[in-house]
């Protein structure tokens, strides 16, 4: 039996890598990938907790797993929309560098 802490540490490490990559990387596709990494780090934590809770109560607890499905659906939708936006931005500005895509600035 692997202790839950192992999963959580792995989740935290993955999440931190995601955050770091998000902050550091300039290529928008890498940024996008780092977002996916953060989402999956969270998914891992959900699953780990779900399993621990089932063991503690003796019944199957699926709340965490359902959340994971939700996250996957949202991530899929986000990937579809996000990649479409990236393509549109690339066509318009001919670059994928996030620093030069700062139209939201006041």
């Amino acid at each position: 039996m692997v202790p839950i802490a192992y999963y959580l540490v792995l989740s935290a490490v993955l999440f931190s890598i995601g955050v770091a990559a998000f902050l550091i990387k300039r290529n928008i596709i890498t940024v996008f990938m780092s977002i996916e990494l953060m989402l999956n780090a969270v998914n891992l934590a959900f699953i780990a907790f779900s399993r621990q809770w089932s063991q503690a109560t003796g019944h199957l607890q699926v709340n965490g797993q359902i959340f994971v499905f939700f996250v996957m659906v949202v991530a899929a939708a986000e990937a579809a929309v996000g990649l479409a936006i990236i393509i549109a931005v690339f066509r318009a500005r001919n670059t994928l560098n996030v620093d030069s895509i700062d139209l939201m600035k006041l």
Binding site: V19, F22, L23, V31, D99, D102, M104, K105, L106
Partner: protein, 686 residues
Amino acid sequence: MNPNLHLWLIPLVPFAGFLVNGLLGRKAPKALVTTVALVASLVPAIQVAVIVTKFSSLTLPCSENLGAWIRSGAFHADFSFQLDQLTLIMLCVVTGVGFLIHVYSIGYMAQDSSYWRFFAYMNLFLFFMLTLVLAENFLLMFVGWEGVGLASYLLIGFWFTRDSAAKAGMKAFIVNRIGDFGFLIAMFLLIAHFGSLSFGEIFPRISAAPDLQGGFLTAIALFLLLGATGKSAQIPLYVWLPDAMEGPTPVSALIHAATMVTAGVYMIARTHVIFDRSPLALSTVAIIGVATAFFAATIGIVQTDIKRVLAYSTISQLGYMFLACGVAAYSAGIFHLVTHAFFKALLFLAAGSVIHALSDQQDMRFMGGLRTKIPITFWTMTAAVLAISGAPPLAGFVSKDEILYQAFISPNGGKILWAVGLLTAGLTSFYMFRLWYLTFFGESRTAAAHHEEDLAPVHARSDTKLTLEAEPPHAVRESPWVMLAPLIILAILSVIGGFMGWPEALGGSNWFSHFLDPAVKSVHMSYEQTAVALATSAPATPIPAPAGDNHLERILALVSTLVAFTGWLTAHILYYAKPELPARLAAQLHALYALLKNKYWVDEIYSALIVAPVLFIARWILGVLIDRGVIDGGGLITGYTAQGFGALVARIQSGNIRSYAGWLALFAALLLAISWFGWTAHFTLR
């Protein structure tokens, strides 16, 4: 029951005239402006005349309440007017002289481009002056009091493109504010002690309380006196009146001689119930009056501007009125007010006629020899000069002698007051005849004015842009009839006006004094009341009723006539028989001459002691330190702080997604750390 007199119409008609001329006059034809102004000043005069005919059948005081103005708890001040003998006299003077001066102004102001504005202001003045004399409470009186000050300011600064006129207007207004401050404090004290400002409530309550002596009544009286010295140009607040001569001459005649400046005398007579209870305040009034009379007369001796001589003469004559009030002879003061209104208005109007004839020349050094050239002006002026000098039986003789007699028989220090007053009468006679000789006799010096520009003669309007269309200097000529007719009427009044109050000692009936007595007679307590007052509280000191003495009065009249004659004789010798003497005298008495010529340096002293410190405080302490430093600075500091902080915070919102994410991550980590380690507790790793 009194018939409805519609007293409110008396002030309101001139106000309507002011509105019409003030709002529409600029575009209206001159004839229309003239008609409106004349009607607006004539209607009140007619109404007053009607009231005079009904007067004997009225029960006095006849008051008229138009409704509440201010209500606050038990205190209330209403729009209410009242009519009694004193009011009636003032109404006659204001509307009568006011109308005559309006007529005169048609001629005098004919060339002025702001003709409509002049008449609008004149009507405004009449409105406020009539409000002042008709008011039934202190507050409404104060409205009129302030209003005449405003009209005076507007009219002194009428030719406002000339710097000196604008400044003179401000000076008059500011000096009057000091007096108004006294009036306001007096009103606050009245509210504090009586809870009312109505004449009809306060005066009977004072009369009914014989033990009410001195104390706060003295304070009220002295503060009222401060107000009166401001409005009536008495020491120490007289300095504005000579400068007020910057206004057009009809204004000087109406406002600064006949009516507005007498408001202080009217106010003291109106509130005599308060003054009667305070011997200290009364003595102060008398001393201020006689000191001003003498002081101003000495300055008047050496002035060369014809209007300034008259201005100092006005201050001096107002001093006589104060003297009369100060010895509790209110009817004598009001009598002098009336006769003074006649002859001083006449003097100013005649001087205006002279100025008009000489194409706006005001300096007596450049007059002379006008006797035959402008005969009607000369003769009317002669009547006025004789009247003010106290030549019997003209108006000034009667009223001035009444005052001197009352001063002589007054109990405290009356002889000294009388002596100074008598000396002043001599001076008055001297400087008036000096003016008369310089203006009308000797050789004509009008030509000299055009050569001796270095003497800087005073020109009335030479440098104002408003009157560019004024004609170039013309030959000396008599003024038009529209100006001469008021002169003649006033001259007749100056000659016969004295018979209204011809003293009993000289075989008259002193009708004026008896007429006025019900309104202004000092309320002397009966012996029983006095006894009660003496027994119950501090000793009451009512002013003893002066005992009349016909023989004494005749002697005093003779003495003052002789003094006036001496004044004339001196002027005759110095300015007619031996015209080279004055210059030699001035050289010999150089120090004295300089002292008088520079008006005792009072303006300079005031400017050093009061104006300069006030300006210093205003400019540096209040202006630079408080206004620009604290108030502006405070605002700026607040603004810059917000701006700087905002600029700092705005940097967070860079528009760069990654920086947002960075902030988010940073603060999330911080939050995590806080929730893990605790916020307030030891922030250390356990």
